[in-house]
Amino acid sequence: MNKARHNPLNMVAMHGALILYTLIALFPVFVILINSFKSRRAIFREPLALPNADSFSMIGYETVMKQGDFFLYFQNSMIVTVASLSFILLFGAMAAYALSEYQFKGNLIMGLYLALGIMIPIRIGTVAILEMMVATGLVNSLWALILVYTAQGLPLAVFILSEFMRQVSDDLKNAGRIDGLSEYTIFFRLVLPLVRPAMATVAVFNMIPIWNDLWFPLILAPAEETKTLTLGSQVFIGQFVTDWNAVLSALSMAILPVLVLYVIFSRQLIRGITSGAVK
């Protein structure tokens, strides 16, 4: 066994470092959470104090509930994130399987072409995307966002998943072929379950930027009925007056679903990250 792991001094140092990092990472979330339960004056007087009987106030949450259609925004964000993730995982996995399993002309070129997207930020094409969306009449629809996020997520998904799919044993796929499974069945029933950790990794890496994105909702779908949560929260941030209670409350509520999804994926995620390195 590793000696360093048993040395108590090393253990303390290791855990100390990890705890410190956790505190730093959680601090902003903590500040947002506690302040969302305080009155406006209390936020500015003592931003780091916990809410007490004096300063406790639900005014932020009340404003959020009254102003705008918070649940609609929430639903929009959910639809966009879940749909985009599903498409990224489905198409990314299929493309990755084709690239890793089948020998065809232009295989390498196709792989490089798909990987190119990792290096070029999609936002550079915003104007062109907007023109395209206007031309196709998709502006102010959730489809506009879903399509853009799918395109944005695919390159990295294909890149990561094809690496993992190359590790799936050829014998297993061949056994499936001899047993009369179709290529689709082999893909869905044999290969996908084996790359599940990689799928979770891709899902988490894509989920958070999509959920938090402000840029594309603002440009492609700013209509009231298609606003996402992040965009919806912006109504409380004015040029001159910002309703901090409402902003903090909206943010607190926006964190929740991401947290839930993350917990679902995290076990798989850790396996995904370490399986490449350790094996």
Binding site: S169, D171, L172, N174, A175, G176, R177, I178, D179, G180, L181, R189, L190, P193, L194
Partner: protein
Amino acid sequence: MTALTLNNVNKSFGNVHVLKDITLEVEEGEFVVFVGPSGCGKSTLLRVIAGLEDASSGEINIGGQQVNLVPPSKRGIAMVFQSYALYPHLSVRGNMTLALKQEKQPKSEIEGRVAKASRMLNLEPYLDRYPSELSGGQRQRVAIGRAIVRDPKLFLFDEPLSNLDAALRMNTRIEIANLHRALDASMIYVTHDQTEAMTLADKIVVLRDGRVEQIGSPMELYNNPANQFVAGFLGSPSMNFLPESLLQDSGQNTIGIRPEDLFLSDDGPLAARVSHVEKLGGDTNVIAKVQDHDVTARLFGQHAIAEGQELRFGYASERAYRFNEAGQRLA
């Protein structure tokens, strides 16, 4: 009827010519072993027969029907892989029934076949376990069971024992031999281990560099090798090769003598200095230097021979094989 006929089968990957004009026949009920050093194309040949790779040219017939364009699942074959290739998300029963379900066999038929196969392989207690809960030997038996339930015209084994430890390998080897007797099925077995080839085969196909070197029964190949490669590949320890000039002062040919044909003899023609002795109890293997050449002698029984000792070996000249410079056997 022949179970399998290959006619001038070739296979190239790009510019690499892997299989060269392979022509051979497997009779009904025959156990044929493809043997050869790694990279000789034996696994590729098996995959071509299975339909996992397409032959670049040539004809493949299974059970009298040409199958060049038939997908693997419709060729009437079943394959056992080196890595077992069990479906990790299915139980043992699920692994064994998947292909039958895919063929839409009636339920009673499926159950009957699984029961029969699991009885043959002693898998009954494990039917509801998952592959990850089984030991290596059990997994191998499941892989074999998965092949048996399909009732194929031809079994294909791709180095099925190479992932097992030595003791288990011997047991499983015997099990496979028994299985062949019980099923009376045609089987093709790929291995690089000449012991497996000698013990299991009705017929051995020796391959080298994508070419068939010789086909015959184990004893035919052992007693009558066509060339130096076959002579050296079969038999353990392998045959000694010495230049003819060493033994009779002249000649360009190579003389091959099996280790068991060498015996201690005070006036023998081979003066040797012992470099290593392996005492196996029943046998004693003496590795010695004759001038610059390593020679292995397999002496029956136990002998008190030490390293560094000077010995003389003799051999019966009718038991020696002669090969020309190209490695071809001379009469």
